[in-house]
Symmetry: C2
Subunit: 350 residues, 2 copies
């Protein structure tokens, strides 16, 4: 099959460049990043574990905690440098409508993380029955506030509010979630750079790169196509030159397609739906599911689990993210990173 | 596997709706459209030929000509109605930089088609060495001209001009090519509707629907990921709930993936690269390639051919678009349709 791609290679330089530079360079993906010390001899280009010829007795657990910690340290250092140089801090604004336990938990985590690195935060909480105009007013005021560099409208919104319309009102320059269609279009279009990459796919790629998983040319399957995670991860993996198949509720026999994948990303929202016999031996799994399941042994009465049956999968795969402690912490650190990037752009600080 | 999707079905109504309405309803996709008369008894939901149990001795040739003719007639009728009602016509502006034989041929085809249906056209041709500012001036003047409802910057541009910047300047309301990142983002995001769907993917879906090819849940492979055709076709097929895999120059063993596809869309630009042993028996092939190959028997010295080895493929597949006469004519008619839609929006004419 070399002939096929050799011929393709003559088509154009942009699509078929042999040397791949990172699609998105940020201070956080420059050299000297944290990488797992237990795999010092696995070069970035060595491919999957099974391809290295190394005998592995168990799957590598791709913890997100050390990566998140590293990113937070680097964001905090940059914020200190910015404060010292121009006397400004990044600002993140969050808008909540009504009360949802999960939304409040997420907002709490974000607040705590912002506080750790020195990002100023504002929260506006509106009543469950607030009007669309009132919500748009709040978003507009954040759009025009020069101290606010990132705006998050916590989803999901109550049903009487139109999520698309609200998101359209968030200034693309402050859309740190990356959900604005302009940012999504620039993510889809190679050669263009979105102002913000959504945090979940950014975290997924960061995990793969830091654990030295080769992406180029690998068969990747993304299960689910939400804009928050699945869709945008498909687009970003494709920018990294994976061959991406996107699965969803209309897919027939999903396990047949998943079983051929080198990289499996799950964004389903159903605990333990991906079983070990769906996974190719040696595959790399990134589990984006965050599902609460009842657990009488837990002090809170429930525990968090992913989409992938972890206990089964670790016997089959070469690497897997745990839930909790996998993608989640990295997602939060990416939000901090996006907010910092936005503030730097706003102040022209480099 | 029913259980898998049954459980998924509980997740949310938007993603998992069982009753699918067309992602984009336009007057051109309403009932009473032209459909091939030779297949009167093949209901839209019957799936592929091989699934109907009908004995087929040869592949169905999915000609685009009758579809294009039908669309043109409908566009012309709408334009007459608009002219009679409000005394206005749609206007399409084209900008050409320098001289390229293929670009001029495309522009010629577009001009001819516009003339047939009653769309006014303006063309500005700038010299090969024109400055970026001059090109932006021209685009801006079309943006502010109320008689212009569609703007086409004929690609590719000379290398000294930045294509992305120019396309960003085209007003999204007049971006009948659908290449603006805002339109592309709205195409990627289910639940949103782009103002314009790029003409090539729109033509691809139109061909599949009119030839009663079921898309939902089918394994579709798109070979190539250009914004003009491959990328946007992947996104549109996904909106129609196909399970889409996008192949490109970094894909390993592409034939293995193509061989499992119910629907194969090719956007490679290399004549005859897709051979019959790459295709699953009974697959449906949409060939978007438009390649010139030398042909001493042709009066022009060359002929146009697709990416798929047609003579081989017709022995294997259940349906295939010819080149020329397949996707091409429908693409042009979609440009007319997009321009009409834009004029109707601009004048508030329904």
């Amino acid at each position: 099959m070399v002939g096929f791609w050799h011929r393709l290679g003559t088509k154009g330089k942009a699509l078929y460049s042999a040397t791949l530079s990172p699609p998105f360079s940020s201070p956080l993906t420059l050299p000297h990043i944290w990488v797992p010390t237990q795999t010092p001899n696995r070069p970035l280009s060595s491919g999957f574990h099974r391809a290295t010829g190394q005998t592995r007795s168990a799957a590598e657990i791709m913890s997100g905690k050390p990566i998140a910690k590293d990113i937070k340290l680097r964001v905090a250092a940059e914020i200190s440098r910015m404060k010292a140089a121009i006397g400004r801090l990044p600002g993140l604004a969050m808008v909540l409508v009504g009360y949802r336990e999960d939304s409040h938990a997420y907002v709490h985590i974000k607040l705590k993380a912002c506080n750790e690195v020195g990002i100023e935060t504002s929260i506006v909480q509106l009543p469950q029955d607030c009007t669309q105009d009132r919500l748009i007013d709040v978003v507009s005021s954040f759009n025009s506030n020069p101290s606010v560099h990132g705006i998050i409208v916590q989803l999901p919104l109550p049903e009487h509010l139109d999520e698309e319309t609200i998101i359209n009102f968030v200034s693309p320059e402050k859309d740190v979630d990356g959900f604005h269609p302009l940012n999504m279009g620039n993510l889809a279009l190679r050669g263009r750079e979105p102002l913000f990459i959504p945090c979940a796919p950014k975290a997924c790629i960061e995990l793969l790169l830091r654990y030295r998983v080769e992406i180029i040319g690998k068969n990747a399957v993304v299960i689910g196509r939400s804009k928050i995670a699945g869709l945008s991860t498909s687009l970003l993996l494709q920018r990294h030159h994976a061959t991406v198949s996107t699965l969803h509720s209309f897919t027939n026999n999903p396990e047949q397609i998943i079983r051929r994948a080198d990289i499996v990303v799950s964004d389903v929202g159903i605990p333990n739906i991906v079983r070990c016999d769906w996974l190719m031996p040696g595959a790399v799994v990134v589990d984006m599911g965050t599902n609460s399941v009842k657990d009488p042994n837990s002090p809170r009465g429930f525990r968090t689990t992913g989409d992938v049956c972890y206990e089964e999968a670790i016997k089959v795969v070469s690497a897997i993210t745990p839930v909790p402690g996998g993608v989640g912490p990295v997602v939060i650190s990416m939000l901090l990173s996006n907010t910092l990037d936005s503030a730097k752009r706003a102040y022209g600080f480099t």
